[in-house]
């Protein structure tokens, strides 16, 4: 069987990363953009539904805990700051600092998980589920989809922290660290929109 791995070494061209400006842009941005587009569609869907059931949506929105929402926003913003520090340290090849900041990102980020569980359990205790009405359907679906993204990001951060212990952070791993950080910023910026959308529009 012609097994390509047994071939004489291909004269592989070196990856010339500086060839074009486009080449320097992390490809993960495609993933991020696609995700953001779908979320934008979800936001639109929410607003369309809301227009047809204004009173219901505003009343339901008022039952959400704004302070938990603010706390969540501050947690993600701070976590985002720490991952910027992590990327910065990685760029300079400082492994311990990189791992330290990645850990800090993770630990602060974990706070988001805690507050989310508190929030969800409070709602569920009051008998509010995603079938209660259309607002709550969107509430659970939007925050739930966001939460799944958050979990993915937390997993990525953990994996990066482990890998940073085994390889140079300014080597090939740097690209992954940068991609993970960019993805984490997406989790942050999506929440920055979701928070006012769900929690603040109903203010009178």
């Amino acid at each position: 069987m012609a097994d390509p791995s047994s071939l004489p070494a291909l004269a592989t061209e070196p990856t010339d990363v500086t060839e074009t400006p486009e080449a320097r842009v992390p490809g993960v941005l495609v993933f991020i953009l696609a995700d953001m587009i779908v979320f934008a569609m979800l936001f639109t869907g929410f607003m369309v539904e809301r227009s047809g059931q204004l009173a219901l949506f505003d009343q339901s929105s008022a039952t959400l805990d704004v302070w938990l929402g603010i706390l969540n926003t501050l947690i993600l913003i701070t976590s985002g700051l720490f991952v910027v520090f992590a990327v910065n340290a990685a760029r300079q090849g400082r492994t311990r600092a990189t791992r330290g900041w990645l850990l800090a990102t993770f630990v602060v980020g974990a706070g988001f998980g805690v507050t989310k569980m508190v929030e969800y359990s409070a709602k569920i205790e009051h008998g509010i589920t995603m079938h209660t009405n259309d607002f709550y359907m969107f509430y659970y679906a939007l925050t739930g989809a966001h939460f799944l993204h958050f979990l993915g990001g937390m997993l990525a951060l953990a994996v990066l922290w482990f890998m940073a212990g085994r390889q140079k952070v300014d080597g090939p791993l740097f690209g992954l660290i940068e991609s993970g950080a960019l993805y984490w910023h997406m989790v942050d910026l999506l929440w920055i929109v979701i928070f006012p959308l769900l929690y603040l529009l109903g203010t009178r």
Partner: protein
Amino acid sequence: MNTNMSNAAYFKYWRACAAMGPVFLTAFIVCWGVLGYNIPPIPADFTAEQMAEHFRTNYNEVRAGMAGAMLFGVLYLPWTLAITKVMEWINPNENNMVSTLQMWGGGLTVVPLVTSSVFWLTAAYRPDVLDAVTLQMLYDQGWLLIDMFYAITTIPMVAIGIAGLTDQRKQPLFPRWACWYSIWAGLSFLFELLMPFFKSGLFARQGWLNFWVEFIVWFAYIVIVTYYVFKAIPRLEQERSALLAKA
């Protein structure tokens, strides 16, 4: 490397397999989609009576559509093989685990496509005898299978992206954006987790998200990957010729 095999022999069937992608897509849309009344799916909030009415009226089209879907659905397999062969050439320093996962995942994708079609076919086979609730159940079952077994297709879609990203060529066989799109598209099926909970709205099987967005994303992926497989084959022919000359 088997230097006894000429390039002509090595690349035989490859393009034909790759071409099965567009054939599959076209046939699937016509048979499963149009004839089978699946584009868009019959709403989950239709009554059993309305569902029965559909099968008792449109049974011949559905029979034809599903027969076609079950036939052409298998083409996902040779198409997957054409992709696998490209993946094996992406990076000689990588093992074949990712490409093998892609092969099995893509091959097994045939299962939900074909099996779900048999449920719809069953409903169309004896619609006058079966009661409305049973007909509804059969239609539901087809959709629950095809929608909820997305994970088997997520695997190859993510695998292609991951493998494609290990390409060391100045101009990768699968461009970076296509790799990331493939990964994202494979993971985006996770929205279907909500599908069993809704009979109406965007998360239901007929919803704008869980039907239109998800299926368009998947169809686009098929087109994009096929395009780059066809572009890769002549490049690989040149690469292998160069290697044969050296050996």
